[in-house]
């Protein structure tokens, strides 16, 4: 009879690895994005499992709440998601799978064989200690990372604003010409047509 700790760990590990496997092998880009959300949430659970409360909450706030939504926006804004051949075509697993399998096998075997030294872990609140570390030992990286964030956000806005504005104008033009030529071709439920009309809005 496995203990509660073992059950919780394997549950979270299944969620994480299952989500990651879905991202790696799903043919539907939107499904992959939602499965990535599961993998990130599972990782957050593993952080809580290890007593890293601050990192776990950060993971949920930034990854699950922020980055996943950003990725969803990227998916919905760019590709004709209904069409798998357009939205998430694979390059073929011929060369990639053996290499990835080799790397994975090597890593897992190395992790299993290594004589890891570990101390008995104590779970204690970490937020105060992390705050201390940020403002004492890691003050310079902390300030640098804030500059990096500011530059990244301003840069992203500058690049994306022009992109969205121009894409809106171009989409209106192409949608107008496409509607004139291909009204008979598109079925009512055609996802590509839906995505096309969605992106036509400036």
């Amino acid at each position: 009879m496995p203990g509660l700790e073992t059950l919780v760990f394997y549950g979270l590990a299944t969620l994480t690895v299952g989500g990651a496997a879905g991202v790696a092998f799903s043919r539907n880009i939107l499904r992959a994005a939602f499965l990535l959300l599961g993998a990130l949430a599972g990782t957050a659970g593993l952080y809580f499992f290890m007593g890293a409360d601050f990192v776990g909450v950060t993971q949920i706030l930034i990854y699950v709440g922020g980055i996943s939504v950003l990725l969803l926006f990227a998916v919905l804004l760019t590709s004709r998601i209904g069409d798998v051949r357009v939205s998430n075509q694979g390059l073929g697993y011929g060369a990639a799978l053996p290499i990835a399998g080799l790397v994975g096998t090597f890593l897992v075997v190395a992790a299993m064989r290594a004589a890891w030294r570990q101390t008995d872990a104590v779970a204690a609140p970490t937020t105060a200690r992390i705050g201390d570390a940020f403002l004492r030992e890691y003050l310079l990286p902390f300030e640098l990372v804030s500059i990096v964030l500011l530059m990244a956000l301003v840069g992203a806005m500058v690049v994306a604003r022009r992109a969205v504005r121009d894409a809106g104008v171009a989409a209106v033009a192409t949608a107008a010409s496409a509607e004139a030529t291909a009204t008979s071709g598109a079925e009512p439920g055609d996802p590509a047509a839906l995505a096309g009309s969605g992106s036509a809005r400036p």
Partner: protein, 111 residues
Amino acid sequence: MTGGTSGSLAVIGLRHFVVLSAVLFTLGLTTVATRRNAVAILMGIELILNAAALNFVAFAHYGHGAITGQVFAVFVVVLAAAEAAVALAIVLSVYRSFRAIDVTRLDTLKD
């Protein structure tokens, strides 16, 4: 200090987390290597970053109880956020030029 919990697989220990992180890394690597959609490749990169951050936290927890690993995990998360924001902007810009984000068709940096 050394043996005990680290030796057996029955008790959850550092070994479990390192193996799990290796599996996550491998799946991320597979995603990056096999996808043509730039956003899907970005998802693979997020998986790889997650595997690295998971290792940081695991070694911090099962090591000597230092906080350093967790601080680095927070840095990883923050830099991943910055990377995702910039990547989304670049993806939108690329989509505008190429009407697709298939990385095998992106062969120029300007019009």
